[in-house]
């Protein structure tokens, strides 16, 4: 794994507004990397500083070992797929895709035509070259934008919320296609998204950003299972939070968790340094379960009362009230054969496991 992009102490100010705060980041060659965060967190600004569309106020952006200070967007080995796709409406599909080849005097007209055909084939738009670009659907425009960027064989492809304008079905289909495409071309992809599911599905690594800072940088599984702060845990997936009181920190951590009692957890279940005293224990809805009639378990049980039922077809989400906790626990249950959908007010037993807890300061 070789570092392709390195950011050191990158800061960006818009007047008094501090858009990027001391960003240090290394992105490897061939990686599918995502910048994830709520709107206004600086993820698009960060992408644009890599593209050269924004200057950094302070700090260094290096691509392929070269300092990018003073290198404008047209001279950087990066290409971008814009959120609006920015397809040139006065040019045909083929002219759009060939736009970046204008400056390539070394290529003959026939070479360029072949490259355009190949690029269009790669994104599944063979035979669309002569079409007027304004007559394309959203998904097709997206593919043209991809072909237009990839034809230049950049070191890095930057994608700014490329799927946000598509409907759900199309979006899921494009996610798979983008992953396949990235493996096929082997180019580093940097994706900006506010959709945590999209980031989890597509990325090798994800940087979660809040207010101009990187909150956590990890692979999707670590990010989901071991979020290092409450805001990361809240942003990615659903999580129940329980008041906790750390008693003992050794090889294992002894902690009193509201509603669950004294629990002993492994040190890696606390991703950030802990102190004795008040803390928060997080637990994902799908790691809890309701014990239906006729089912048995070896795991621990607590009594609860169903407070709310949300039926999703494949899943049912229950809010279950347990003693000693103000917020009811959110529990996700697969609707397997023979499982009823419980009514509000049903007395039930909640199955839990201390291995699924994550302790946050």
């Amino acid at each position: 794994m070789t570092a392709l992009i390195t950011l050191k102490g990158v800061n960006k100010y818009y007047g008094d507004y501090h858009a990027l705060r001391d960003i240090d980041l290394t992105i490897n060659a061939g990686e599918f990397f995502s910048l994830l965060g709520p709107s206004g967190c600086g993820k698009t600004t960060l992408l644009r500083t890599i593209a050269g569309l924004e200057d950094v106020s302070d700090g260094v952006v290096m691509i392929g070992g070269k300092d990018m200070r003073g290198v404008s967007a047209n001279l950087r080995p990066t290409n971008m797929v814009f959120q609006s796709y920015a397809i040139f409406p006065h040019l045909s599909v083929a002219e759009n895709v060939a736009f970046g080849l204008r400056k390539r005097a070394d290529l003959s007209k026939a070479d360029k035509a072949t490259m355009v055909d190949e690029a269009l084939a790669m994104v599944g738009l063979s035979g669309y070259g002569k079409r007027a670009s304004h007559a394309l659907s959203g998904g097709q425009r997206q593919r043209v934008a991809l072909a237009r960027a990839l034809i230049l064989k950049p070191k890095v492809l930057l994608l700014d919320e490329p799927l946000s304008a598509l409907d759900k079905k199309m979006r899921e289909q494009m996610q798979v296609e983008l992953i396949r495409l990235q493996r096929h071309v082997g180019i580093t992809f940097i994706l900006v998204t506010h959709d945590q599911e999209e980031a989890l599905v597509m990325s090798d690594r994800i940087a979660v950003m809040f207010e101009g800072e990187i909150g956590q940088l990890a692979d999707p599984e670590t990010l989901y299972r071991r979020p290092n702060s409450r805001r990361v845990a809240e942003f990615i997936g659903k999580m129940n939070f329980l008041r906790a009181d750390v008693q003992e920190i050794g090889d294992t951590i002894e902690v009193d968790v509201a509603g669950l009692g004294r629990v002993s957890v492994q040190a890696e279940q606390a991703p950030m340094a802990l102190h004795k005293g008040a803390a928060v224990a997080g637990v994902r809805p799908e790691t809890l379960a309701i014990l239906f009639d006729g089912e048995t378990t070896e795991r621990k049980l607590i009594d609860g009362v169903v407070d709310e039922v949300v039926y999703y077809g494949d899943m049912t989400y229950y809010d279950v009230r347990i003693a000693g906790v103000d917020q009811p626990l959110n529990i996700a249950m697969k609707n397997l054969i023979g499982r009823p959908v419980l009514d509000v007010g049903t007395q039930t037993k909640v199955v839990w496991d201390e291995r699924s807890l994550v302790l946050l300061a």
Binding site: A73, N74, F82, P89, H90, R102, K103
Partner: protein, 266 residues
């Protein structure tokens, strides 16, 4: 029914005076009155030989063309900045630029006369008229060009730069073709405003008058009235041809850019 009557009355009110132009331009009498006395092309023949009129028309055309170019260039800069960048007190600045739209022309004319003659001690020439015409035409140009630039996706130019073009060629290759219909409309409007502008030209023209000023001069001699009618006929025909060309260009541009035609400025 009543709506149709209203529409017809409106059209008569609007166009009847213009229809009178060619009728009297070909009428064989120096007095502008019905009944018509006969057909003649004499007045057009007189137009061809009147050299001082030719000079006035040349002046006006030169002024109108220069005004169209300069005010459209200024309009492009302002509209582009307004559409693409955010800057402090933008609304205030844009409003201030549009101010000449409501400024009485007589005020502009008098104050420019003072500035040119008293303060800078310059002679009056076609260029003093051009300066004043640019001042009054630029707001119109900005209004037209704003529409063209505001429909543009700002990431379009960035995409062109990202694909290897410099800032200027990104503008030339992407933005310019897309706003071309607006630019043509803008030049045309400025040209038309400048061509028939009288008050400013009257105050600021030097020894050689513009066409409207020359026509005003002719009005003192009733005998030359039919010649003015002939000249008006030619101008009307020319305007119709120009506007038709501009509208055709605009529609073609719209179709090429795939923008839904919402009816143009004209």
């Amino acid at each position: 029914m009543s709506l149709r009557v209203y529409a017809i009355a409106y059209l008569i009110f609007l166009y009847a005076p213009i229809v009178l132009l060619p009728i009297f331009a070909f009428n064989d009498a120096t007095i502008i009155a019905f009944p018509l006395s006969g057909f003649t092309t004499n007045w057009f023949g007189e137009l061809m030989t009147n050299t001082s009129l030719h000079a006035a028309v040349r002046n006006s055309l030169f002024i109108a063309v220069m005004t169209a170019i300069l005010s459209t260039l200024l309009g492009i800069c302002a509209a582009r900045a307004g559409a693409m960048y955010r800057f402090p007190i933008k609304a205030g600045i844009m409003g201030f630029i549009m101010l000449p739209l409501v400024l009485p022309e007589i005020i502009v004319a008098v104050s420019l006369l003072v500035v040119v003659v008293q303060i800078f001690d310059l002679g009056l020439s076609n260029w003093t008229i051009i300066a004043a015409h640019v001042l009054i035409c630029t707001p119109f140009c900005i209004a037209i060009l704003n529409g063209a630039f505001q429909n543009l996706d700002p990431s379009m130019e960035e995409a062109a730069m990202d694909l290897g073009e410099s800032r200027f060629s990104a503008f030339r290759l992407v933005t310019l073709p897309l706003v071309m219909p607006g630019i043509i409309s803008s030049m045309l409007i400025a040209f038309t405003i400048s061509l028939d502008e009288f008050i400013i030209a009257f105050f600021l023209s030097g020894v050689s008058p513009t066409m409207p000023v020359y026509i005003w001069g002719l009005m003192r001699f009733p005998a030359s009235l039919p010649v003015v009618m002939a000249l008006g006929t030619i101008l009307v025909a020319l305007s119709i041809i120009l506007l038709t060309i501009a509208e055709l260009l605009r529609r073609r541009g719209m179709a090429r850019a795939g923008v839904k035609d919402k009816g143009g400025f004209l």
